[in-house]
């Protein structure tokens, strides 16, 4: 499957590696829909099983002031965390995946060793803005990363050009 978000085509991904959370019936059943990221996908390297949680934006905050930026940032953090929580809730049996929308490789992935990667893609980001955004987000997730043993380098903010180098975009 190829997923088009924020002007980029992500994929192709095997259905068995993918959970397109925001399009899923599982997600739609929540009455007050929590904000969620676009999708989760297993995309591993030779040595490590990586589970990516994707959020994509076309640009930096539209109305440019720092209050809007903080809202923008907190929304991204909320989406990542909610998506992580929904996936984990399925894995520990607190929600059931009745329609088989969570790819079977995701269901079978070993939660104790899989490496979660939180990726924010800002397609048209100014390069010099990525660093402070990345720094700010990393420090806000410091405790979360420590609790779940998520590597700090796995909180990633990339521009559209940079994400093309990862092999996640066609």
């Amino acid at each position: 499957m190829i997923i088009s978000e924020s002007g980029l085509d992500f994929g192709p991904f095997q259905d068995s590696d993918l959970f397109h959370v925001e399009k899923s019936e599982l997600y739609k059943k929540f009455k007050n829909k929590p904000k969620v990221a676009e999708f989760l996908v297993l995309h591993s390297t030779k040595t490590n099983q990586l589970l990516w949680i994707f959020e994509a934006r076309t640009s930096n905050p539209k109305s440019s002031n720092s209050e809007d930026y903080l809202n923008y940032e907190s929304e991204i953090l909320e989406k990542w965390r909610n998506t992580f929580d929904i996936f984990v809730s399925v894995r520990i049996g607190r929600n059931s995946d009745d329609n088989g929308e969570v790819g079977k490789n995701l269901i079978q992935s070993k939660l104790s060793s899989v490496r979660f990667v939180f990726l924010l893609v800002i397609t048209n980001a100014k390069a010099d803005w990525l660093i402070p955004i990345s720094n700010s987000i990393k420090t806000k997730l410091f405790a979360f990363c420590k609790i779940y043993n998520i590597f700090p380098e796995h909180i990633i903010v990339l521009s559209g050009d940079e994400v093309k180098k990862t092999g996640l975009v066609i």
């Binding site: 905050p61 720092s66 720094n135 420090t139 410091f142 990363c145």
Partner: protein
Amino acid sequence: MITQVSLRNFGPFQELLWSGLSGINLVIGPNSSGKTILLKAIYSAIKTVEEYKKGDEFRSAADILMNKLYWTFQVNQIGDLVTKGAESGLDFEMVYEDAKFKYGFGRDTTKKIQFLESYIPKRESNSLFLPAKEILSIYKDILRSREYSNEFGFDDTYYDLAKAWLLQPKGGKNYKVFAEARNNLEELIDGKVEHNEQLDKLFFRRGKQRFDLGVTAEGVKKISILDTLLGNRYLDSQSILFVDEVESALHPDALMRFLEILYNISKLGVQIFISSHSYFVVKKLYLIARSKNISIPFLSYFENSWDTYDLSDGIPPNSIIEESVTLFHEEIDLAVH
């Protein structure tokens, strides 16, 4: 290796425990938060251990420490080091290879340290403090002011460094790591500082060209000092190096390479304490901790408290990163005003 230090009522430190220390240790905080005081406190303690019974030294450890604190902090009386308004005296404790060194004294202390216990065995290695300013341009002034005038001005960190730097190189083979580090340092500054004995003057040599020290960059002189100390055998594999404001006078590119050299030295066994104000230092040491899978204890003053972390866990919220984000906010605010 020093594994733990604790301070109570010591200058700006009402209560501080920094444990789990490792080969490289980083302290950050705003101006006047106490970074240099902390490094100097540890330096004074380890130098006391090193000087006690060294050669013909006859003084007690308490007398050596008293002298070291007086000349390192240059206070009217060492009791002035006790935190202002504290209800009790100052306590310092350091753990070195499972052995403790501790002392304490009150606000009225002038000449005698009331309490000192040391269980650390005799240490042959030399520790050294690299202050933020280079000393090559002023080493003669440092020696003159301390040895002839006996005046305050240049504290013991400068005086000890000037004396160490003047030592003639010993014969014998140097550590391979030190030799490599020297090559890297000389490559970094594309030359080396030489002493012309006839003129009793220092020059910077780059290939066949020779430059007066006065027109040589601060960063070059700073790097040359470490180059000399690695070459004259003052430092060895068990030395402890204190680097205050490591970034001073260095371009970020040189700074990154300098930190890599320090990391290589630390692998040999040299323990390093670094203070910094630099975003690049925090980021680079974080990357070293992650990529080399090593612990880099991180002491950070942020939002009115000292907190301890390890850079191998990531970069916690801190004053330097916060400032980079503040600038970012200013920039996006500028866009609409």
